[in-house]
Symmetry: C2
Subunit: 244 residues, 2 copies
């Protein structure tokens, strides 16, 4: 079966996914690696959840200078590492003491488990349309994440390939262009309303998949749709049903 | 099992493939679509094999101005279309008469069948290492080729992503960089000695897989290895044996 977007009026040929939070559970995965790091170094007072949340709090701000053009593009790996260094300092640790481990701990962001529905949903959807990430992650990160988590992407376009971070319009436009499709033939699936809003502004179709525990048990944002999205789905399996 | 390259001394983590000729049989596939085009237009005198060979003869020359910096990068789709237009003229046909079909006939280059061993060999190899094309094809072309031919790439890096055509050193270097690997951890597998020589010059490991009928029954070049390659293999299945 085919799916025609009500908002774009076009047949959807590709569904691209926000990845951190929409396809994989970054909070549990990163906290697991932070806890192992703390245990190795006998940092008994280090709260792995609090450390993870503090590290993640630097994620969006770290991309802002690149989004607004005051800093040249650097891959997300490098930003994650910079944010890790300042988070260690915030928690009273000297980053120099852990220099040899920083690259490996930074790679926690590629050792993330998919949500329960992700692999089955992507496999179903991938039989009908082109599927791939549209993520702020760089290609090497997304590739290793996909191999570890068995995400069956047809194509991986990293933010380093595009040289722009979402929600910059160019991040969506260049992915569409590389796929040789029209914006209206591409759907973004995401757990974040602001990401969908940016995609919609450049003409993409949209699917909202809320992930109410992405930020932990006390999450308050992105619990409900805040825009006129083509689809609101309970899971990627639910999304795939609209295409098969 | 792991494979350590004798030439680079490193564990091979990715095997990248030349695509046209090494993984897929472009001559048979393109000639099939040219023959169908000729039949639709009752061009009874059009020799589909001769037309295909003439079109392919413009392939390398079309990239030369981009390789030597006298022309800005344009994707292979655009070069294939320009070469098609001049081939039609060479064969006494007015390209303007076929304007609406040029895009579809150009896309013959993504409707190519794999050699008999390709899919099985790639599937085996893909369980051990990262596999992907390292081709002069653009991402959209390689993606559609992969979906149609069921090529199980882990990642697709198009020449438009890299903005360089092989054998320019940057074409190999940038692919390695995007994968976050060292050159010596990457192997190029190709049916063409000059491609392997260029990869070797920038530090990659090499595997030669001769395809003695790629250019038809009278092929005279690339029948035997002409360099000191890590491996000389009779097929991609044979190559995969070294990794499993």
């Amino acid at each position: 079966m085919v799916y025609i977007s009500a908002s774009t009026g076009q047949l959807i040929k590709a569904v691209l996914f926000d990845t951190f939070g929409t396809v994989v559970d970054w909070r549990t995965g990163v906290a697991r690696d932070v806890a192992a790091f703390a245990e190795r170094h006998r940092l008994v007072d280090l709260d792995a959840w609090a450390f993870t949340d503090a590290w993640r709090a630097k994620y969006d701000p770290s991309m802002d200078p690149i989004r607004n053009g005051t800093r040249e593009f650097v891959p997300l790996d490098a930003l994650h590492r910079e944010s890790l260094i300042s988070t260690l300092a915030e928690f009273g640790l000297d980053p120099a003491d852990y220099d040899e481990e920083l690259a490996d701990l930074t790679a926690a962001w590629e050792r993330l488990d998919p949500w329960d529905d992700s692999v089955a949903g992507l496999a179903q959807l991938g039989r009908q349309v082109i599927i791939g990430p549209l993520s702020n992650g760089n290609l090497a990160l997304l590739l290793r994440m996909a191999l570890r988590a068995a995400l069956p992407w047809a194509v991986i376009i990293g933010s380093d390939v595009i040289q722009a971070y979402k929600p910059t319009p160019q991040a969506y436009r260049k992915a569409v262009h590389l796929l040789r499709l029209d914006p209206g033939e591409v759907m973004l699936a995401a757990a974040h309303n602001h990401d969908l809003a940016a995609a919609q502004r450049v003409g993409l179709a949209t699917a909202f998949i809320p992930r109410p525990t992405e930020f932990g048990p006390g999450q308050t944002k992105d619990l409900a749709p805040e825009g006129d999205w083509d689809l609101v789905c309970s899971s990627i399996v639910d999304l795939a049903r609209h295409f098969s």
